[in-house]
């Protein structure tokens, strides 16, 4: 434990601090879990489990362990020593420095941790060592139970080539493609031509969209081969690739399976995971609007056949691509707990982690297939620390200076492993939390999600709530008309935030004006005895100008009590609100409907930054006089950005493809930045000669750092 190295009195002190925060956190968390299955305290499982993971999934597993009366051991890297999962666990062991291959993937250190703590079983979570057969083998050798399937199933399903062959044999529908190992870029091109474009190139050992590229022609195949093999090597330590037919416009629907060591297997219905960017899931729901009971059963039964074919035990997921005619093809099987498992838990009432632990101990499944219900609807939004305005999400880092989960709302579940003050670093996945809402119907769950996103306070890092809220309120999403191409189809020019309609714009402007007035009036509220009396401005009517983008909107506001009547752009808006100027949340009633706005910042020069309908808008409120005089102010010329290349995100420079004096063509690769294990190629905006290069491979760069200057 990190505190071991500190002096005794100090560690005592730190422990007090830890205990207090831990206690309050756990209480909040437990009141929110909803499972219909009742834990049987007489069913003995393990005394102590080590969780070989971090972040939200480690916290998720610890919660169930606590429910089952199992002691927990957290492992952590040095930078994670005060992370939430470390605080929640009964014991914590540092397994190395920040980079994952030295800590969370460091099997030697984790094996040592198991020995030192005497843990009887290991829950691997997802990612890291969860599908690593080597790890499973080493655990088996030491007599430690791996909470997951046995090595055979991991091996069979972990290899995409082998898994397809097994699936075929088990009479599961599969996609046409090349079932061998691709050695060189030219091999890749040849195979791609045989199958026919488009093709998908992916890491044989991969998952989670990492090391995965789509190619539409020979050049893209070569580039895809290069990137995928590099990413595969850095993420999984295995650069083998496979190539298969790419199904255009498909849905990604997966079946949750649960099997025991006695040959019983169940399918726990589907999860619709079609909303993706760069092959990573963003919004998931269960059930899917698309499946009819017959297709659902067919998919479920094939998934169970596959599980049985590999003598699968524990929880697993069989992923399918479903085309518009409801043909479905086996994609891969994930032999672990999925990120999006909570939505299945919400509609079935099962605690999957609890079931995994039971199964690992050797108990039979408690349920029969006919016991598995679909109760209501659940939706999950993955809240990421990333900028949705750049390629639907490029990682951002920072410190969560303010953080409030919307747990005050009912039917909301938030799985997170961070808290106010946590750092989102470049070393790990930028996921902040999984926000899950549920309801009796899909509409209820969607309305709740809207509310929850509006009430979610995240400050200090850029996050993707604007995008999430746009997705779940988009007519196509609401009608269920989605595919894995949803984002590029709906936002062909990239995500630009919420586009304000006339009414919504008026509401935003009026809210900003009301907030401005509330703040102005508060400035006059000086308390205590005054030697020289204060004479406040007696004003109930204001003439203001509100700037939004390039437009300037004149408005008149009258106020009585908490009611602000605003005339703007030829329309009237009534805003009712008792403004708490210290709170990030602004609950307002605008023209009779309740709206939750957020105030991100407010300064003396009238600048107000508001989050409205999920998107952040910068507004400037000025008195009429100040606005008129503002036209005399000189305009400051912004920096010319076409000739400089700045890093769009924090990360590590992997390669620099040019040197000063080179001439680059438009779109030519200039350098490659790796962040959160994703490689991103940065290209020239126009043809130019390279003036200077300010980065070199291996260097860490921050967002906005100057990389290359063009002439």
């Amino acid at each position: 434990m990190a505190a071991h190295s500190l002096s005794p009195p100090l560690s005592r002190l730190l422990f007090t601090v830890k205990y207090v925060s831990l206690h309050s956190r756990c209480c909040a968390v437990h009141s929110k879990a909803h499972y219909s299955t009742v834990y049987n305290p007489n069913e003995k499982t393990f005394d102590k489990i080590l969780i070989a993971n971090r972040g939200e999934i480690a916290c998720r597993v610890i919660k169930t362990c606590k429910k089952m009366g199992i002691q927990t051991v957290a492992v952590h890297s040095d930078v994670d020593s005060s992370a939430v999962h470390v605080k929640m666990a009964d014991e914590a062991i540092c397994v190395g420095p920040a980079p994952t291959n030295k800590s969370y993937l460091n099997m030697d250190a984790i094996m040592d941790a198991i020995r030192v703590t005497g843990a009887q079983a290991v829950h691997p979570g997802y990612g890291f060592l969860s599908e690593n057969k080597e790890f499973a083998k080493r655990l088996a050798a030491e007599g430690v139970m791996f909470i997951g399937p046995d090595t055979h199933a991991i091996q069979a399903m972990g290899d995409k080539i082998e898994s397809k062959l097994i699936a075929k044999a088990a009479k599961v529908n599969t996609i046409p493609g090349f079932d061998g190992v691709v050695k060189t870029a030219e091999d890749a091109v040849k195979i791609a031509q045989e199958i026919g474009y488009p093709v998908m190139i992916k890491a044989s050992a991969g998952g989670g969209g990492k090391g995965m590229r789509i190619a539409w022609n020979d050049d893209e195949t070569r580039e895809g081969f290069r990137f995928s093999s590099q990413e595969a090597a850095s993420s999984f330590g295995d650069d083998r690739l496979l190539i298969e037919k790419y199904i255009d416009n498909p849905r990604h629907i997966e079946i949750q399976v649960l099997a025991d060591k006695h040959g019983n297997a169940l399918w726990l219905n589907e999860r619709e995971c079609s909303i993706q960017r760069r092959n990573q899931k963003v919004v998931e729901e269960a059930p899917s609007t698309f499946l009819d009971p017959v297709t659902r059963r067919a998919m479920g039964e094939q998934a169970v056949q596959l599980a049985k074919a590999v003598q699968y035990s524990s929880a697993g997921t069989v992923e399918f691509l479903v085309d518009s005619k409801k043909n479905f093809y086996f994609l891969e099987m994930n032999t672990r707990l999925q990120v999006e498992h909570p939505i299945t838990e919400c509609i079935t009432g099962l605690d999957l982690v609890e079931q995994m632990i039971r199964v690992a101990k050797g108990y039979q499944l408690q349920h029969k297939q006919e016991d598995i219900p679909i109760n209501g609807w659940a939706i999950e939004s993955r809240v990421y620390a990333e900028d949705p305005y750049k390629s639907f999400g490029l990682p951002s880092i920072g410190r969560l200076s303010q953080y409030q989960e919307p747990l005050n709302l009912s039917n909301v579940r938030v799985d997170s492993g961070i808290q106010e003050g946590s750092d989102i670093s470049i070393y790990y996945d930028p996921m902040i939390s999984k926000l899950v809402t549920y309801g009796a119907t899909r509409n209820e769950a969607l309305a709740k999600m809207e509310d929850a996103l509006d009430n979610y306070v995240i400050r200090g890092v850029t996050h993707n709530i604007p995008l999430l809220r746009e997705i779940i309120t988009h007519p196509r999403f609401i009608s269920g008309d989605i595919s894995t191409n949803f984002l590029p189809e709906v936002y062909p020019d990239g995500f630009k935030g919420h586009q304000l309609e006339v009414d919504a714009r008026r509401e935003l402007l009026a809210s900003a004006a009301a907030l401005y007035i509330a703040a102005q009036l508060r400035s006059q509220k000086v308390l205590g005895d005054q030697r020289v009396s204060t004479i406040p401005v007696k004003c109930t009517h204001w003439e203001l100008c509100v700037e939004l983008g390039k437009g300037c909107h004149a408005m008149e506001v009258t106020k009585s009590g908490d009611v602000y009547n605003v005339e703007v752009d030829g329309g009237k808006v009534e805003v009712i609100g008792a403004f708490n100027l210290a709170s990030p949340l602004l609950p307002l009633t605008i023209n009779g409907s309740d709206r939750m706005l957020q105030c991100l910042s407010r300064d003396a020069s009238g600048m107000i930054v508001l989050q409205y309908l999920g998107t952040v808008f910068k507004v400037r409120v000025l008195s009429k006089l100040a606005s008129e005089l503002n036209s005399y102010m000189p305009e400051k010329v912004p920096e010319d950005t076409s000739s400089i290349l700045r890093s769009p995100m924090p990360g590590t420079v992997v390669a620099v493809s040019i040197k000063p004096g080179d001439t680059v063509a438009e779109g030519q690769e200039i350098c490659v930045i790796e962040a959160m294990k994703m490689q991103n190629s940065l290209t020239a905006a126009r043809q130019a000669k390279v003036k200077s290069v300010h980065c070199k491979p291996g260097e860490t760069v921050g967002e906005g750092d100057l990389l290359v200057e063009l002439q």
């Binding site: 002096s7 100090l10 020593s81 005060s82 303010q402 308390l527 020289v532 401005v537 210290a582 709170s583």
Partner: protein
């Protein structure tokens, strides 16, 4: 007859907004007129002008001619209100003889300064002047001196703020320099003793106005100005905001504004903010902002001597002065510039009854010839002096390092700190473990073991706590709650220094 004539001209002046095509338009490019500035700075319709009829008295060089006389001359003066609170204002008018200072101009300024002193209200100067009225000769110089004297007499009695909104050169610069705060407008304001031409002829240096005395120079290099704003409007609106923090005079307590942020709010993020490695940096501003009312911090000199952070904020509505070492810059050490920056701020707070809250993470004074030759001993003593003589409520929080003499300096218990807290991560010691061990165990083997022993004994808050040098070791999350409750109690603090004509701070 004369009156009518004058009023007519006053009206002309009052509504005078030159267009860009004429000469004044060129002069005003990007700037507001003197009256527009006053109107924007003060509450609507609160301005009460004085000496609108005063004219200059020069009779040489044709100045006596009617066309060279302007009612009010080159400055607008009077009183008004900012958020209902009284303030005296002068605003120099560049459209009248380049805002140059005549005897009459000076007399108008002196008059409102005298009134401000008798009433006990702050003075704000909006400076935009080409310098002395050369036609008036020594009369103009006398005018400057009259203002300087009043600046000095008012110092520590009423807050004085200068906002430089145009050129300010020669003798004129000393009035802003004598006031408590000097703000500038970027790109349109300059402060220098002599302009680039004279510099060229004397020292043969080629330098632009902007480089010599622009906002960037004075807020980053010289430390003459305390803040710079984008343009006239932002400067004036921010000045209104800044004014809210200040008491009207030294007879008034720190103002209390209605507060929406609960005074007992816990700040859990502070529990993890100090890194485990004691050499790793963090941002002291994160701590400061998390503790304050609604993260509302008006930082003074944010771009100068960044290893110390100073500024105004509120705790449960009451204005406080914040001083904090900034570990992110030069490890938060004290050097010449940061000592002077801190000392001046502490003295302002003390003069105007503003409680001082000090966040300490200081590895010591910066060593080296540059510092020693520059007089770090003398300048460092200023900060020590300022903290020691201050009689306002003083609350200190040691977040991490408090090493050596710098520990003493940073509002320690020994300098009459009222409440001194340490976080569990605090290390109060003469120096860091490595250096200490090299001295104590010189030549001994097993330095690592000795170092561990030293860390165990001293790299924690207990040695200071058992001696009563810190009053309590607190959970970081409770910092805001504790400070707010202490300030409530300390509001009635009375402490008097021995009678003296004035102290002799090592200047």
């Amino acid at each position: 007859m004369y009156l009518n004539h004058s009023l007519c001209r006053i009206n002309t002046i009052y509504s005078f907004r030159p267009t860009y095509s004429n000469f004044w338009g060129h002069v005003l490019q990007g700037k507001l007129t003197a009256r527009e500035r006053v109107e924007l700075l003060l509450d609507p319709e609160s301005f009460v002008e004085s000496d609108m009829f005063v004219e200059h008295r020069c009779s040489d060089f044709g100045m006596e001619e009617d066309r060279n006389k302007f009612p009010g001359d080159s400055v607008v003066t009077g009183r008004g209100r900012i958020n209902g609170r009284l303030v005296y204002v002068f605003s120099q008018d560049f459209t009248v003889f380049g805002g140059s200072l005549s005897g009459a101009h000076a007399q108008k300024i002196c008059k409102i300064m005298d009134q401000a002193m008798t009433v006990g209200a702050p003075v704000i100067g909006l400076n935009d002047s080409g310098g002395a009225r050369i036609q008036e000769g020594v009369e103009s110089l006398a005018g400057y001196a009259d203002i300087f004297l009043r600046n000095v007499m008012a110092s520590g009695v009423v807050p004085q703020i200068s906002l430089i909104m145009g050129p300010c050169a020669g003798g004129a610069v000393y009035s802003p320099a004598l006031t408590d705060f000097t703000f500038m407008v970027k790109d349109t304001s300059y402060l220098f003793i002599t302009g680039p031409d004279v510099v060229k002829s004397v020292t043969n240096e080629d330098v632009t106005q902007e480089e010599l005395g622009g906002a960037k120079t004075h807020t980053t290099v010289s430390g003459v100005a305390h803040h710079a704003f984008e343009n006239d409007i932002e400067a004036l609106l921010n000045l209104r905001e800044f004014f809210n923090f200040l008491p009207l005079s030294n007879q008034d307590p720190a103002p209390i504004r209605e507060c929406h942020d609960p005074s007992d709010r816990l700040v859990p993020s502070l529990d993890t903010i100090v890194p485990f490695e004691s050499t790793k940096a963090y941002d002291m501003l994160d701590i400061i902002q998390a503790v304050l009312d609604a993260k509302d911090f008006f930082e003074i000199m944010p771009n100068y001597a960044k290893n110390i952070v100073v500024g105004f904020a509120r705790m449960n509505g009451r204005t406080v002065g914040i001083v904090g070492n900034q570990p992110k810059v030069a490890s938060g050490c004290l050097d010449i510039n940061s000592s002077v920056k801190g000392a001046r701020f502490v003295r302002f707070c003390d003069a105007f009854n503003i409680p001082i809250i000090t966040f300490v993470d200081v590895p010591g004074f910066l060593p080296g010839t540059a510092q020693e030759y520059g007089g770090i001993i003398r300048h460092g003593a200023k900060l020590l002096f300022a903290f020691a003589e201050a009689t306002v409520p003083k609350i200190t929080i040691i977040t991490r390092k408090a090493y050596g003499g710098a520990y003493d300096v940073m509002s320690s218990k020994h300098l009459r700190g009222d409440v001194n807290y340490a976080w569990p991560t605090a290390e109060v010691a003469v120096m860091g473990a490595k250096g200490a061990v090299q001295i104590i165990f010189r030549g001994k083997e097993n330095q690592a073991e000795a170092e561990a022993e030293y860390v165990d004994k001293f790299a924690n808050p207990f040695p200071a706590a058992v001696r009563g040098f810190v009053d309590d070791i607190i959970e970081p999350a409770t910092t805001r709650k504790k400070i707010c409750s202490d300030l409530e109690v300390l509001a009635s603090k009375k402490q008097v220094n021995p009678w003296k004509k004035h102290a002799n701070i090592p200047l």
